[in-house]
């Protein structure tokens, strides 16, 4: 339904211009100022290019200095360990659970589906006190396991529904053919369904990865100095310890680099995941 009217062309161009400004500005400010010296920042020429790009700002943000007391190296490693583990486990178990939800039509499956549906949107505030108690009592608080388990429990409903949505789109004839050949459900799942669902696994992995990497509330309450995540460290640069803007922006860029690169290069899977999450298939 493309339009040829010149008024629409003008409106579209104006809107595009505005959108470009509004959406480029924050990330432009972050990147440009992460490369400046402190005196340059104090001149308040925020939109200007850096005179001499200060790439060592990233090293300072990573390893810390007297101006920047929150080295991001350890938190980024922590976030990587936690997020990668949760992503792999959530995608694996989500595939199994999603297969069950998409292939079973019993009343029991409906009950499970409703429970999963509500759990998808369970506010973290509702479970955080028991989670804190469990991780503290079981001694998991000082290892990554506490956060990994908490994130896994919280994200499994989402990954199950996402995988299930994709499985619903796979024609049943494929499985029926394998059944005739005498394969059981488990063989069918691992040898027939899983191999052709790799793009779906990629979408789910990207969605879960981004969600867990960016999660703040749970890691703020559950992480200890040893397991502090990138988001919590980033929040500290904003809170009690005031950091110079150039180093703060360098730390911000380090914090968003991984999910942002994933989005830029694998945006297709990302969008497919979002749509599956909205149950639009």
């Amino acid at each position: 339904m493309k339009s040829k009217s010149p008024t629409i062309k003008i409106i579209v161009l104006l809107v595009l211009l505005m959108l470009t400004f509004v959406y480029i500005l924050p990330i432009y400010v972050m990147i440009m100022n992460s490369l400046k010296t402190l005196p340059e920042i104090q001149q308040r020429t925020y939109l200007a290019f850096p005179k001499q790009p200060q790439f060592q700002n990233y090293a300072t943000a990573l390893f810390g200095s007297k101006d920047f007391l929150i080295p991001m190296r350890r938190p980024i490693i922590n976030s990587t360990i936690i997020t990668v583990t949760v992503t792999i486990l959530a995608a694996f178990f989500g595939g199994l659970g999603g297969y069950y939800l998409s292939r079973t039509r019993t009343a029991f499956a409906r009950v499970i589906f409703v429970l999963v549906g509500i759990a998808l949107y369970l506010p973290y505030q509702t479970v955080i006190i028991p989670l804190t108690t469990i991780t503290a009592r079981s001694g998991l608080a000082n290892s990554h396991l506490g956060l990994i388990l908490s994130y896994l429990i919280i994200n499994l409903p989402l990954s199950s529904v996402l995988m299930g949505t994709f499985f619903l789109g796979i024609p049943r004839e494929l499985e029926e053919a394998a059944e005739v050949d005498g394969a059981n459900k488990i063989q069918i799942f691992f040898r027939v369904i899983s191999p052709i669902s790799m793009p779906a696994y990629a979408s789910v992995a990207i969605i879960i990865f981004t969600q867990v990497w960016n999660e703040f509330f749970i890691s703020l309450t559950l992480s200890t100095p040893k397991t502090q995540t990138a988001q919590v460290a980033m929040a500290m640069t904003q809170g009690s310890t005031i950091s110079p803007y150039n180093l703060q922006m360098a730390a911000a860029l380090l914090t968003v680099a991984v999910p942002l690169l994933i989005f830029l290069f694998l945006g297709r899977y990302f969008i497919r995941g979002i749509l599956a999450g909205a149950l639009k298939g």
């Binding site: 339904m1 493309k2 339009s3 062309k9 595009l16 959108l19 509004v22 959406y23 480029i24 924050p26 990330i27 400010v29 178990f93 199994l96 659970g97 297969y99 069950y100 409906r110 499970i112 589906f113 429970l115 549906g117 759990a119 949107y121 506010p123 505030q125 509702t126 479970v127 955080i128 006190i129 028991p130 896994l152 429990i153 919280i154 409903p157 199950s160 059981n184 459900k185 488990i186 799942f189 981004t210 960016n214 999660e215 703040f216 988001q231 929040a235 640069t237 904003q238 803007y245 703060q248 911000a252 914090t255 968003v256 942002l260 989005f263 990302f270 969008i271 909205a278 149950l279 639009k280």
Partner: protein, 317 residues
């Protein structure tokens, strides 16, 4: 003859045995299937709902220090919350979030998605998608850090830009208690707009709707008319999904407030989620904090009912 009989008998017995074996094999297979496909999901769901029930119990107990106290006190802590002015500030702010975080985002998303359908430029769609969707990959912690710098009244990016254009900006953004929440909501809209456009776009793209639009164009209906009388009534499912997701996300809002204003100035931008963490972890009133958690859950539960019914129908159709 006897041999024949014998072999026949053996055959029958074998058949019975193999039938039994088949049945047993089928039962064993379904047990294994249950263990592999259903059990992990069930276990994790039980833990999740277990913590939910546990939290409900904590909200009715008397846990007020670091040591857990499970003495049943009924609705004591709920009454305590209702008697606090701060709780009602939260309710007001959460209402602002619910309305202003959802309605403008949805309208803007419909407008942009429709514009992309009409736009006669090649490549415009992938450009806009990347442009407005990238914030989805960023955390609110980072977005909030950047925006709180942009919002700074004296040294901030916005007022500096306005100043260099010769405008002495009177705006103090999140420093003004009466408007601070609105400026926070702007960040939310900025972050969620791309996500919303994607969902609306996908509901435009059904073949039935495209045919109806083509028919309306042939009939000479105006673009605006087509939007209001053909498209909007036919994307109700997409709208339900989008509005539900936005409602839940504005109800749960925590990160933006915590990072940008930390509930301030004073408690002007406080919301239920930030109050929960302050109550439970700073003031050590675990039971009261749990009660806020239960209240957020009940509100969320009410908000997702229509969506869950829709999803259930769609899934098992």
């Amino acid at each position: 003859m006897i041999d024949d009989c014998k072999s026949l008998h053996i055959k029958e017995v074998n058949e019975v045995i193999s039938l039994r074996a088949q049945k047993r094999r089928r039962i064993r297979a379904s047990i294994v299937e249950f263990l592999v496909f259903t059990l992990p999901l069930l276990v994790f769901l039980s833990i999740l709902y277990g913590t939910l029930v546990w939290n409900v119990y904590v909200s009715m107990a008397d846990w007020v220090s670091t040591a857990a106290d499970y003495t049943f006190t009924g609705l004591k802590w709920y009454n305590y919350l209702f008697s606090q002015g701060r709780f009602w500030v939260d309710v007001q702010n959460n209402l602002k979030w619910l309305i202003l975080g959802v309605v403008p985002t949805t309208i803007l998303a419909i407008f942009l998605a429709y514009m992309l359908e009409l736009a006669p430029f090649p490549g415009v769609e992938s450009y806009v998608r990347t442009l407005i969707l990238y914030p989805v990959a960023m955390s609110f912690v980072v977005t909030g850090t950047i925006w709180s710098w942009m919002y700074q009244p004296e040294r901030g990016v916005f007022n500096t830009i306005l100043g260099s254009l010769g405008i002495d900006s009177p705006l103090t953004y999140t420093n003004n208690p009466s408007t601070a929440t609105y400026w926070l909501i702007v960040i939310f809209i900025w972050q969620y707009l791309g996500f919303s456009v994607i969902i609306i776009q996908s509901s435009f793209r059904t073949s039935e709707l495209q045919e109806m639009v083509e028919a309306a164009i042939v009939d000479g209906a105006s673009r605006l008319r087509i939007l209001f009388s053909v498209i909007l009534p036919n994307i109700r499912a997409g709208l339900l999904v989008l509005v539900s997701l936005l409602l839940i996300n504005t109800l749960k809002v925590f990160d933006i407030v915590w990072i940008v204003t930390r509930s301030g100035p004073g408690i002007a931008t406080d919301v239920l989620a930030t109050n929960m963490i302050v109550t439970a972890y700073d003031q050590r009133l675990a039971s009261a904090g749990a009660a806020i958690g239960v209240i957020i859950f009940l509100l969320a539960f009410i908000l997702v009912i229509p969506y869950t019914i829709y999803a259930l129908r769609k899934w098992f159709e």
